[in-house]
């Protein structure tokens, strides 16, 4: 088999394995079931962080967690896991109860949090 043939064979092999992983059900979307989970995820990711206040998206897909030291962290899903970022000058947009947050970081996606009007307004002000 020549090199291009080998490359094509490898690409097909990768595609089959990925498809098999999906077909076997490894495609879960994670849920933030409560504020305590969000706080724990942030504490694990940011040493020294102690949660003081949490805003959980109504669909459990993300959260904002404020620390006792004034830092605010974003928790958002990533595959079947979560990813956490300390927010420093994020891009924030609010539409009613929906708060859109994007950290100042290349390739980090925007997160839409359904917080309800009052909470969205309050957290937009904090960010």
């Amino acid at each position: 088999m020549d090199r291009m043939g080998l490359l094509l064979f490898s690409v097909i092999g990768v595609a089959v394995l990925v498809l098999m992983t999906r077909v076997l059900g490894f495609s879960r979307r994670p849920q933030l079931v409560d504020a305590a989970l969000a706080a724990r995820l942030v504490a694990d990711a940011l040493p020294g962080f102690r949660a003081a206040d949490t805003a959980l998206s109504r669909d459990g897909s993300g959260a904002l967690v404020a620390g006792q030291d004034g830092r605010i962290a974003l928790v958002r899903p990533f595959g079947d896991r979560f990813v956490v970022r300390a927010l420093d000058g994020p891009i924030v947009a609010r539409a009613g109860g929906l708060l859109r947050v994007r950290p100042d970081e290349a390739m980090f996606p925007e997160t839409a949090l359904d917080l309800g009007e009052a909470a969205a307004l309050r957290w937009a002000g904090r960010l």
Binding site: M20, L24, S27, F78, V84, E105, P109
Partner: protein, 308 residues
């Protein structure tokens, strides 16, 4: 009928990684099914897709860039100190020496940011399964850690012998990327790198950061003070200190290089530029392994009240 005699030279002319690839695929399928049936472990199709794409890209970049190192190695071997023949004893010696070099290459890969920019790819998954083993760098050459292996050629180990041993080392490391295997027998855990030891290496828990650099023999970590056993009360949280927010293989491959470029652009002195390249990862943001570990230890050490 007599079988042709197989010499060590015949054996080392093979590429162990190429031969092992079908076995890798079968093992990943077996692990997927085992995890589906409830064995310990986790998979996510997007994560697996990225890992396998990184593995495929690694073979392509390796084929494109290998000539550079091979040329340098050949030149050094031409100025070798000893004539080491290809034989069973030299194979065994080379395997151990190559693994010793791997320990330092790997350690440098975690302690020097330039090298980390190439190696971080392997740690960028929040999962730990056999597909993670194939999540390999596209930019290994630019991390410059291959320099650590060059003395082997100057000593006199033939190129094909070192390449064969390096390939075997990589093949060995495949099976230790799993949660399905708990602990191996005690004697094995003492001498060899195992799934348990390597889970620690992939952990971001402060206790586990920059520990267990071994390739095949864990004895190097025990000798040089970098060994940390896995603890049931502190299960590893896999990934990197600042986990990525995208599965895009291009960004996975180059994100730390972009970070270095950004820090170099901001550097206002030669010292700052040097630190951006050569200091341990996280030095600029105060998130080195030492700082994070010290912070964690301070938070978790009970205050002792002096007796009156």
């Amino acid at each position: 009928m007599t079988l042709p005699a197989v010499t060590v030279q015949d054996i080392i002319s093979a590429d162990p990684v190429a031969i092992a690839i079908p076995v890798f695929v079968i093992c990943i399928i077996a692990e997927l099914l085992a995890v589906r049936m409830g064995w310990r472990g986790h998979y996510d199709w997007r994560d697996t897709g990225t890992s396998l794409a990184m593995g495929l890209g690694n073979t392509i970049s390796g084929a494109l860039l290998a000539g550079t190192v091979t040329g340098l190695a050949l030149w050094l071997w031409q100025h070798r100190l000893f004539d080491i023949p290809v034989a069973w004893w030299s194979f065994a010696l080379c395997f151990v020496v190559d693994d010793f070099a791997y320990y330092w290459i790997h350690r440098a890969g975690h302690r020097v940011r330039l090298a980390w920019a190439a190696h971080v790819i392997h740690h960028s998954s929040q999962h730990y399964n056999l597909s993670t083993a194939l999540r390999q760098t596209w930019t290994g050459l630019f991390g410059l850690t291959f320099i650590i292996k060059l003395p082997l050629f100057l000593i006199g180990f033939p190129l094909e012998l070192v390449a064969f041993c390096g390939g075997l080392n990589l093949v060995y490391q495949f099976w230790i990327h799993t949660e399905v295997v708990g602990r191996m027998p005690r004697w094995f855990e003492t001498v060899m790198n195992t799934p348990s030891h390597h889970r620690v290496h992939h952990g971001t828990n402060p206790r586990y950061l920059d520990r267990n650099y071994a390739g095949v023999f864990i004895v190097w970590d025990r000798l040089f003070g970098t060994f940390e056993p896995e603890r049931a009360d502190d299960p590893p949280r896999y990934g990197i200190v600042r986990n990525l927010g995208t599965f895009n293989p291009l960004w996975v491959a180059c994100h730390e290089w972009v970070g270095i470029a950004r820090d170099l652009a901001r550097a206002r002195s030669l010292k700052a530029a040097w630190l951006a390249i050569a200091a341990p990862p996280g030095a600029a943001s105060g998130e080195t392994a030492e700082i994070l570990r010290a912070q964690w230890q301070a938070e978790n050490t009970p205050l002792s009240i002096p007796a009156e």
